[in-house]
Each structure stands twice: as C-alpha cells, then as structure tokens.
Symmetry: C2
C-alpha cells in the first residue's frame, strides 16, 4: 500500500528541472502592452542619441571666440540673428558677433559652438535690433549635448531577457519600437484535485473547503511571467483526473496539479504519471513544507504535482516552477532573489529537512529582520498574505535563535537570483 | 521676459502635494483580474479556518486513550471501522478499539481525538476484517488541526490598502471573494508638449526626436497603480496646448504634461496654469534633475508640469506623482522604498541642490552597492533602462566619495516607504 520515496535535496531537485528545455517563442507586442514582458532579442540603437548636436538648455547659441574677453565689467554685446525652437532648424550660418535664441533640445546652428544659458544673458533692444550682453567667457563646446554622446548608433542598448519596466519603455520608444519583440508567455495549465474542494462562489459545507490553491497558483503564474490556463477542479477519481490531465496536455507547456500527490489512497497523481509514461525527476524533496512535491517530464512538457496544502503548494511553485517559467522568458536571474536577514524570533525546533519559513520583513537599522509570519503550518492560508520572504533554515540537528544571520528569499521582488542555492544547502540526505 | 522662481526643498514639495485630497472610488473586481490591485475595504473571515477539526495528514483517526499502552514490543491493534476521504464526513461514531482511515483535510470523526500518521500504522487483514497496529502512544489532540486555529470567524484577515499578491489571492479565495472590493485606479491623463516630438512610428528628422516621455510616463503610471489616458502630443502653441489641457481635465483625476514647463519662450505651461486659475503649489524644486517640476491644483484635480527631459521627467514622476496615486489607492507606504547602500563610485561634483542619481544596484557582502548608471545627464534616456534605484545625495558644498553610506530609493520595489524624507533632506534653501 505504501510507496517508498527517496527525498532529493532541494538544490538537486531545482537543478534537475532546470536542465529540462522548453522552447521560447517570440511574438511582437504593442509597446503600451509590453510592461512586464521580456525582450526576445537584443535591441540596437537605430540612431545616435542625441541624433544631432543640441542645446541642453534654453538660452543663446554663440561662437565661443566672441565671448573670450567678456567680463562683468566689460560685457560683450551680441546681435540676436534669429530664433530657433525645439523641432526647428536654423536656416543660415551664424556670423561673428551674432547669437541665436535657442530652446532646449534644438539643434546647434552652423557656426555656433557654445550655448549661453538664458539666466546668464541680459537681452535688450536698441535701434530696432535685439542684443544680448554676455558677462563671462564661454569655451568651445560649453553647454552642448553632442550627437551620439549618450548612445552611438548600433550599440546594443537592451539585452535579450530584459524585463520591460518604464525606463526600458523609454528606450524602446526612443528607438522607434512601436512593437516590441517579446518572449511569448509560456502556457501553464492548472488542475486542482480533491473531492473536498468547493468553488469559491459556493457556500461552505461540512467537510469541504473552498478551492484557494488554484486561484493562488494562477496569480503566482502571472507574477512569474506565465499565462495561466485553468482546467478546473477534479474530484478524487482516477479516470476523471487522467482525462483532465490528458486534455490539458494538448495545449500547455507546463501542467500543474495541486493535491493528490502524497501516498494516500486517493492520491492519484503518481499513478497518472506512471500511466502517461512520464519520467519522474523527483517525487520527494528534503524540505518543509512541500516535501511531496513531484516533477516529471513528458517529451517537451513538464508536469508538476504540487501539494494540496496551500503553503506547501505556494513554496513548491516558487522554488520549482517559477525559475522554469523565468528561464523560458530568458531571464538571467530566474530564481527567487536571495539576500540576508537577521532572524527576528527563535525557531527552536530542529528538522532534518531544510525549512522554508514564511516571513514578514522589517527594515531595521539599514538591514532586514525576518519575522516568521503567523502560524507556520503547511495548511495555513492566512500566513501567506503577510509573507514577503521565505527564511531558509538548512536542515540539521539544531534549532535557530533570534539574532542569527539567515538567508532569505524575497517573494515579491522584481529582481531574481542566478543561483541562490550555493552555500545555503546543507540539507539532510537519506 | 524671465520669471523669477523660488525653489522649494524636495521634502516640502512632496508634503505640499500629499496634502491635496483626491477621492477614492470603490469597484468590484473579479478575483482573477485583481492581482496588483488595492483592497478598498478590510476583509473579514466569513468562517473559522479550518472550518472544522481536521486531519493534517493521511493516516488513521483514533481514540488516544486506546493507544496509551502501545509500544514497539506491545503494539495495540485497532479495528478499521471505516474510511473517510477528504470532502466526506464519517457517518457514525467511533467506538473503543476502532480506528478510521482518514485523508489529509478530512474532518475528524466523532469519538476520535488523535491521528496516527500513515507511516506509523501497520495495517493488515484478519478473518475478513482490517486492522492497524499502533506501536507508540498518541495523546489527545495529536495531529489534529483545530477549527479556527488558523483564523477565527470575524477576524480581519486583510487590511484596506493591501495590494493583492498571490498570498492575498489565496486568502480572498478561501473566504469566497469571487469579486474583490478594490480601489478604482485613478485616471491619469498624459499630454506631451513640444514641436520637436515625432510619433514613435515616424522616421527621424533633423532637429526632431521621438516622443519617448509619454510612453515612459504611461508605464510609470501603470506601475504606480494608475490608469493612463493618453491625450497625444501638442506642438509649442499656446491655444492648442490650452484646449488639449481643458479637454483632458473633463475626464481625469490627475493631468501630467511633459515639456514646456521651463522659462523659455515656448514654455506655455505656466501661462496655461495661470489662464485656468490653477493654484500653483510649486514651480521649482531644489533638486537635480527635475528642478522645473511644477504642481498645481484646480479644485479636486492635480495638474503636473513635468520636465521634457526624460530623466528629469522620470524622477519628477516618481517623487511627486507616484505617492499621490498610491495614496488614492490606500497604500500605507506610498513613497518609493528608501534603504541604504554604499556608494560604488566617486561623485565629486558638489551641488547646492539635492541630487537624484540613477543607479544600478549590486548585492555585495549582503548589502547594496549603488553604481551611477551611465551618463548622469537629465537628457539621457538609455541610463534609465539600467537604473533600479536613485541615489539621494543631499545638496551641499562637498562631493561624495566611493564607499560612503548613502540613502537610495528603489525604483521597482513592490514595497514603499511611509515617508522617506526625514534625515536625508539637508537641501539648499534659497
């Protein structure tokens, strides 16, 4: 009746699924819809930035040579030969003793080689002509933004795998990318298993609970950059579960199930993976919560059996599914961002398995303190809403004390880690 | 010709616009669409969690009293009286000497007060009856998740102003919130001004640049939680700009303009605010970049004149617009997240104004180092794509050296600050 499973250390389990290759597909996305998407190609500058020598200020374009002798006591007078707004081009060439009124961003007129800021030029009218007084010398190239000084044409300005945030949007707009080459979001199917699951719109019934896992995982999928596809809830029935899994596998890159993954009589996921002929990468991980997390591949597709316990399901997703989605997207740092914190409370209970403790972070004295969030049971839903990090407590024979330095994994960070597992995995091996 | 402006310290400018009140509106959002939205109300638990005493494991529900004498050498034999899957309820009452097969999450049957985990129970058949052997004593309440132990009915489980991330989604689903009371996104209009602006689909022309600011700001609005409404580009023409501003004010909570805000001949925003009768909170801030940032109110609406320079525009938005949007949403921490870093490079040039230097962050030795990102000119677009923080360098007469501790503001953090300005503002006052 009982199947024996060998727990795999977390690091090895993550490495196993990261070796699996899922193809990335490119699609063009409207720039205004591209926020949060990942670039499928390097982006090159299609022109110099600035595209011409231009004025960074409102003021007067001058010939620096004319101002060489200028001082407070002996201002130099220049004739205003014209006026040039941003977006316009000055027609003629500026001669000795002349200046041109220029606006921020406008091209430097031929003949000029410096800009006098508006605040430093006194303008006046005399005999129907306009002049400025300049009271200090300016040097060649003063106050000019040079063509290409920001970026030369042909430079790679954005790397493949960059996530589109507002600063990236600005660069894409500058270089005319009204459509952006983005990585298509991988399609991730979700099946919730369990006869105890009610739809969230149903009233509670004795013995049943509402299906929170599927909604949570779909939100996790979106946060990780994937496209969630729900295949609903199935009861604890082998045939129903199998046919739903088979249907889902027609259209997804990755399939996630929650529940039914343990060793109980109604846990059909192991049998279904067997029936499908999937090759199981692991079916037990030396971690808490989420030790029964299962991952298997079937050709190019990955199938995960996540725990039915909300917190175990959550952690299993973040450790094993998120990095696979991020890898498809081309992210250079696909794993949860690892950083350090000080443990905010004792965690006395030793555990041979590595523990991931949901935690609230507080910024104290310029560093993070990590406080275990609420009840740390794998069945707890409400503690998930307070957690912004997972404290990583390597397995061993000792507990952990308040004030100790610990590794944490950030749950809502826009940044990730390349490989967070070195140096923190001293986990139990059976 | 020149208007004199008095620069306001950054802290005072932020405080001025934060005093302005914009009404929050509530709307119901489908749970699957609610990610990233802000809760408009506190959320109460509509039932105990767990809703009934249940088993956290697969195993056998037993009467602890029956196992008191159990040991490895003298196992206690219990008759399996039935079997109960998750979602089912055991019909009868369990009598002395009996056990019931129970699945994770199933209700504890009447008469039982402990659960023996599957791994610790040896089951066998004898004379057509099924039994388990228990080899150690169990105590009353061993391995039972009690009704309400996670959350009691009526408890506030989520606060107004909470952003919906996957853990919050799980809680909302558990309590049956198929529709979620969210704060309606404030509508933020965007007008780009400047005769030099080309649409991003147009080829470059001498003297002109593509309109990157509007796309950037719309992405910033979305990132801050607002709804961006584009009113296109207007050339440097007073009447055209005025009529576009008036049209936009019919439908937005906040209006943003970029460009035309300085003291040049084609900078019409000051005149337009005057024409509208708007009351100006500030029109110069003692900061670099973005010193010409302007903010005014017209009844319940806010109008911002942001710089036309991309980086100045970017910084002006993050400091002065983002917190107003976040306040409408009910965020308890509406400002950019402030934290500490070590300056990664010299910044020798002193400046009387407070500087916001775009920076790349590197996690070194468990702390952040902040490296100025590319060219730090307010006209630079490409440096925006690399920046994940702003280094805050208070104004003064000295430069800053590599290795100094500095304050930084995180640009892509899901978290914010309540009020980041205390202790860092030692800015120039004219």
């Amino acid at each position: 009746m009982m199947e024996k499973r060998t727990p795999m250390p977390v690091q090895e389990a993550v490495a196993a699924i990261m070796e699996h290759r899922i193809e990335s597909r490119m699609e063009w996305t409207d720039l205004q819809e591209a926020s949060g998407r990942y670039l499928a190609q390097d982006i090159q500058a299609d022109h110099d930035v600035p595209p011409f020598d231009r004025s960074p200020y409102d003021g007067f374009a001058v010939r620096a040579y004319d101002t060489l002798e200028a001082s407070r006591d002996n201002p130099v007078s220049l004739h205003i030969a014209g006026d040039i707004g941003a977006g316009s081009v000055f027609g003629g060439t500026v001669e000795a003793g002349e200046a041109v009124r220029i606006m921020t961003g406008a091209p430097i007129p031929d003949g000029c080689d410096a800009v006098v800021m508006l605040e430093l030029a006194h303008d006046y009218e005399k005999d129907g002509h306009h002049y400025i007084d300049v009271k200090r010398p300016f040097h060649v190239n003063d106050n000019i933004s040079f063509r290409g000084e920001d970026t030369k044409r042909g430079t790679t300005v954005l790397q493949r795998g960059t996530v589109v945030h507002p600063g990236v949007t600005a660069v894409l707009a500058s270089f005319g990318y009204a459509e952006v080459p983005t990585v298509q979001k991988p399609h991730i199917g979700v099946i919730a298993t369990g006869s105890e699951l009610l739809d969230i719109r149903e009233p509670l019934q004795q013995g049943k609970i509402r299906n929170s896992n599927a909604y949570m995982i779909m939100a996790q999928i979106e946060q990780a950059g994937g496209e969630a596809v729900s295949f609903g809830t199935v009861s604890d029935d082998f045939d129903e579960t199998l046919s739903t899994v088979q249907k889902a596998l027609h259209s997804v890159d990755i399939l996630l199930t929650t529940g039914g993954v343990s060793v109980g009589d109604y846990d059909y996921i192991p049998d279904i993976l067997n029936e499908l002929g999937a090759s199981v990468h692991f079916n037990k991980v030396s971690m808490r919560p989420g030790s029964v997390t299962t991952a298997a591949s079937l050709g190019p597709q990955l199938i995960y059996g996540l725990s039915g316990n909300p917190s175990a399901c959550y952690v299993g997703f973040e450790l094993f599914v998120r990095p696979v989605i991020q890898k498809v997207l081309g992210s250079p740092a696909p794993h949860l961002k690892k950083t350090k914190a000080v443990l905010g409370a004792d965690f006395p209970k030793p555990n041979p398995f590595m523990r991931f403790v949901r935690a609230e972070l507080k910024d104290e004295n310029g560093g993070w303190s990590a406080y275990p969030a609420g009840l740390d049971k794998s069945s707890s839903v409400t503690s998930l809403s307070d957690a912004s990090a997972l404290i990583v407590l390597p397995g061993g024979t000792r507990g952990y004390e308040k004030g100790m330095d610990v590794d944490i994994l950030l749950l809502h960070s826009a940044e990730g880690s390349e490989w967070p597992w070195d140096n923190i995995v001293r986990s139990y091996r059976s």
